[in-house]
């Protein structure tokens, strides 16, 4: 049995937060789906509100402080990521975007990701498709097909197209991608002995 690491990035600001609530539902569904496929899961939650000032500091200083670096390492080193944002002004929140802005541009290459968003109205329901997917396409991550959007009214809904069904389907899709893969390896250490010799660099190779 393999133990998987699941990093959950939640950009909710209030407490309790419907964004975090959705993140927790997706986490539970993914953990259950992975268990059904024979994998254990370690869950690590990154609440971006706790790093709001750290992120602003990183923008001006160019480096992550210890607390933010630990959060970045958690996400970059995970087998899969669940990324959940509230919709602000028709898109992901600035706090959510800032976290992904300060990652190295290749930090999430090939990373299975489940995208989700919350809003006060169903009229924002395509924000995942027109805002979040292009961001993760740029990062060359692997978002699963189902993005889970929850408006306020979804927390009361029912029937087979209801939120619970979408949560389970998305968790299953993420588990499908993760369970067939070798366990995540840490990113390549830039200070390991180089594979390209300096002579090769000199020769333009």
């Amino acid at each position: 049995m393999t133990t998987r690491t699941l990093a959950v990035v939640s950009a909710g600001l209030s407490n309790p937060s419907s964004t975090r609530l959705l993140a927790d539902r997706l986490t539970a569904a993914t953990v259950a789906a992975l268990r059904a496929r024979g994998d254990d899961t370690t869950v690590e939650v990154v609440e971006l509100r706790e790093h709001a000032r750290d992120l602003a500091d990183d923008l001006t200083s160019g480096f992550a402080n210890r607390e933010l670096q630990a959060a970045i390492d958690t996400v970059v080193g995970a087998d899969a990521v669940i990324a959940v944002t509230p919709v602000f002004s028709a898109s992901y929140s600035g706090l959510f975007k800032t976290f992904f802005d300060v990652l190295d541009s290749d930090a999430l290459v090939g990373k299975p990701v489940l995208l989700a968003a919350t809003a006060g109205t169903a009229r924002h329901s395509l924000a995942i498709e027109f805002a979040m997917r292009p961001l993760f396409a740029y990062l060359r991550a692997l978002p699963v097909a189902t993005g889970v959007f929850a408006a306020s009214e979804d927390w009361a809904g029912g029937g087979d197209t209801a939120l619970a069904g979408r949560v389970d389907r998305a968790g299953g899709e993420l588990a499908d991608v993760v369970s067939g893969r070798p366990a995540a390896t840490r990113p390549v250490d830039p200070f390991a002995d180089p594979e390209t010799s300096f002579e090769q660099l000199l020769n333009g190779n």
Binding site: A56, D57, L59, T60, S61, G62, F63, N65, R66, P190, F191, D193, P194, F198, L201, L202, G204
Partner: protein, 381 residues
């Protein structure tokens, strides 16, 4: 161990008065700072290279040549010389000339530069930063070491039968450092050639410095230049001092708060706890600087950034008095006592000449001068 100062040559308003110096004031101020560095017993003055406002350091060897004439002992260096966008032929010529002018008191630090538009202004692409640094530096080395160079590369027009003049003083090129904050390829380059590696060691946490230096040392040994602890390491650092540390904090805070690289982000207190920036008493600066050795090992050169963020010239000169009188003598003594005998000092012109088996005139005479008709034999006779 060598101690000195490095300047980026920025023209920045003094936030406490709102006054911005003129370019003339700033250039003359930098020269005054360099002369003060020699007066208070420092070893090195290094200046940056920029090609855009608010900087006045587009022509480093002009300023360094003047300083050379006004000083006797000071080593003149750069922080950094843009190896990516400056023609390596021009670097070879300028700094060989400076060697002759300054009787060998010259070395250089190569850097790539991080001002995006400078690359297109000089016909280059910032995405080629590393390949440019690799190719241009290899050419620069050949121009100093081979009297006649045939060369063809990717980034510069080819050279056939080219002799860079004047030849290096005593036949010995200046020592070269390579500066980089976080590109292991540049530390690798320094290690490959057995050159020095410099980490600017300001603005960022010391962990970055530690990893880069450790990597450089390991690779220096790999390439057979000596053991890892014999590699040639230089560090930057930024300090502001007053007798009472709270006075230093109070006086420096407005400069910190409005500095382009600091303002609007983490507080002065956060920056001093997370990065090597030290604002306090001379004793605090001594303790902090001695602590650098804990994570980079015994090293050869320590440069301080002193004239940053619009600090007035008078204040900078006072800071240099404190540095030269109260801080550096203690650091010299303490570092020397800690350094094992097998760890070398930073190479100087004299040590490089000695290592080359003595000085030799390297003049390359033209076979026949088109204007005068004289030949090399005729000139030598």
């Amino acid at each position: 161990m060598q101690f000195g100062i490095f300047t980026v040559g920025d023209v920045t308003p003094d936030p406490t008065t709102g006054r911005t110096p003129t370019e003339a004031e700033r250039i003359k101020g930098m020269i005054a700072i360099a002369l003060k560095a020699e007066e208070v017993g420092l070893d090195v003055f290094a200046q940056g290279q920029h090609h855009n406002p608010p900087f006045v350091v587009s022509s480093p060897t002009t300023t360094l040549g003047y300083i050379a004439a006004k000083t006797d002992k000071l080593i003149l260096s750069t922080s950094t010389t843009l190896i990516t966008t400056t023609d390596p032929v021009k670097i070879a010529e300028d700094f060989a000339t400076l060697q002759h002018v300054a009787d060998g008191r010259v070395d250089l630090m190569m850097g790539r530069g991080n001002t995006g538009p400078v690359y297109p202004w000089f016909g280059k692409d910032i995405r080629d930063g590393i390949p440019l640094a690799v190719e241009n530096y290899q050419l620069l080395r050949r121009l100093w070491r081979e009297d006649v160079v045939d060369w063809e590369g990717k980034f510069r027009t080819p050279l056939q039968g080219f002799t860079s003049t004047p030849r290096p003083l005593d036949g010995v090129p200046p020592f070269v450092w390579h500066g980089s904050i976080r590109s292991p390829q540049i530390a690798e380059q320094a290690a490959y050639y057995g050159d020095g590696f410099f980490h600017n060691h300001i603005f960022w946490p010391a962990e970055h410095t530690e990893r880069m230096v450790e990597f450089y040392r390991r690779r220096y040994e790999h390439y057979g230049h000596g053991t890892a602890d014999q590699a040639i390491v230089g560090l930057g650092g930024q300090v502001f001092m007053r007798k009472n540390s709270q006075d230093a904090v109070n006086e420096f805070r407005p400069y910190f708060d409005s500095a382009p690289v600091y303002g609007g982000g983490p507080s002065l207190e956060e920056f001093t706890s997370q990065t090597p920036l030290t604002v306090g008493s001379p004793q605090q600066v001594i303790e902090a600087t001695l602590g650098f050795r804990d994570y980079v090992g015994d090293y050869q050169r320590q440069l301080f950034l002193m004239d940053h963020a619009g600090l007035p010239l008078k204040t900078v000169l006072e800071q240099l008095d404190i540095l030269g009188e109260e801080v550096v003598p203690v650091l010299r003594r303490e570092f020397a006592a800690l350094k094992p005998a097998h760890v070398p000092e930073a190479p100087t012109h004299a040590s490089l000449v000695a290592a080359a088996g003595g000085s030799k005139d390297a003049t390359v005479y033209a076979p026949a001068d088109d204007v005068t008709g004289s030949t090399a034999e005729g000139v030598q006779a």
